[in-house]
Symmetry: C2
Amino acid sequence: MPDRQPNIELVRRTPFFMTAGEEAMSRLLRPSFTQQLPRGAVLFDQDEHADFLHMLLGGSVGLTARDEAGAETVVEIFGAGELFLVPAAYLRLPYLASGTALTDVRVLMIPADVFREGVAEDPALARATMELLSRHWRLMVDQVVDLKLRSADRRIARFLARRVPEAQGAGSAEVPEPRGTIAARLGMTPETLSRTLNAMDAEGLIRLSGKRIDLPDRERLLGRRSR
Amino acid sequence: MPDRQPNIELVRRTPFFMTAGEEAMSRLLRPSFTQQLPRGAVLFDQDEHADFLHMLLGGSVGLTARDEAGAETVVEIFGAGELFLVPAAYLRLPYLASGTALTDVRVLMIPADVFREGVAEDPALARATMELLSRHWRLMVDQVVDLKLRSADRRIARFLARRVPEAQGAGSAEVPEPRGTIAARLGMTPETLSRTLNAMDAEGLIRLSGKRIDLPDRERLLGRRSR
DNA sequence: ATCGTCCATTGATCCAGATCAATGGAACCC
DNA sequence: GGGTTCCATTGATCTGGATCAATGGACGAT
């Protein structure tokens, strides 16, 4: 059920549109629409032609890549306010990965050709796009370093710490995504994730309570030298 | 020994300047200079402020990240014609990684502020930059998938195959970089790389000859299902 | 040429995390 | 409300690749 009236305020406040400006926003919004989808829905599929960019208004989406043997991983998990699929749309190439709703989601669908036009004509929109791409590149570099240098428990600790809104001290991380998805994002099996989480709980580093995880001491959690 | 006369033809032919156009090129080249550096030289250091973009005119450069414990990996290896460090320069953030000359290199040094100005004023330059960033994001996604899904020997096979100029059949890959660097780029130890390379040679999948490696049958090399 | 240094190779052993295999539990549907 | 299904957890075992430990060779310096 497409909906032509997205929550404008929410869109206006995203880092992307804060940089791109009001004009770019209304230009992109005019031909766009929003979709509500339940957990598990597939938003787009690897190898298919990129007709839309997606901006997540609520919920979270997993970028899932499948290799030639059919095995799958999660490359990244995007949360509310994130705009993604710019590279595929811009290069007019097929998507590198599929997108799956990890929770119920609300997505703003922006036609790729409108975006390409806008970016060519509006310097502020181009600026916002370059910033976005730069940030996203750095996120992926960070993940590569994580995978190559850090052990499973350090990766988990960092993942949880980044989910806490407060920069310092104690906090609480919302983790509504399926465990298997998080494990895949972190480059490990669900079994390893589960075991490590329970061990951390036993040590008092974290407090598991279903879809929320409390971090009593962020510094201690990150500080652990397990290699 | 900065040199104010880079090989213009070489620069003009890079994918980046083919898109950015002649005007952007002369604008960026005017305040730039080239440097010749020996293998092992450090071009820039992690955490330092990004004052320059680098365009590699010859040789290859490794992006090396160091974690808090002092361990290092190689995030990416760039070859001639590549422009890198755009994200740090554009976001005015410190470099995420250090750059090391893996062979003797010739680098064109482009001042970051000139680049930022140019990108704001020249739409063709902005377009080239968005394409570059999009491509680079996809390269990192590819690497993440590689690390998460593929075994050491498959990663090596793919790495070698991508170094062969010819798309099909047999070919020869130049591998002038130190073995340890390649191992780090592939997320394994030099020991594992060495052993796997020798095993592949024994099976006739590749032919080792110092800094060159011949691939008699690209398809067979890639086809191996060792999961 | 000869030495020293660095890097690659080779060998032996170890271990973090994967895999295989049940079992437990929460959400969903008639 | 009681299956049914799916997902998370827990247990036992296995293994790809890391680590530790020598050698061997190539290259640059003298």
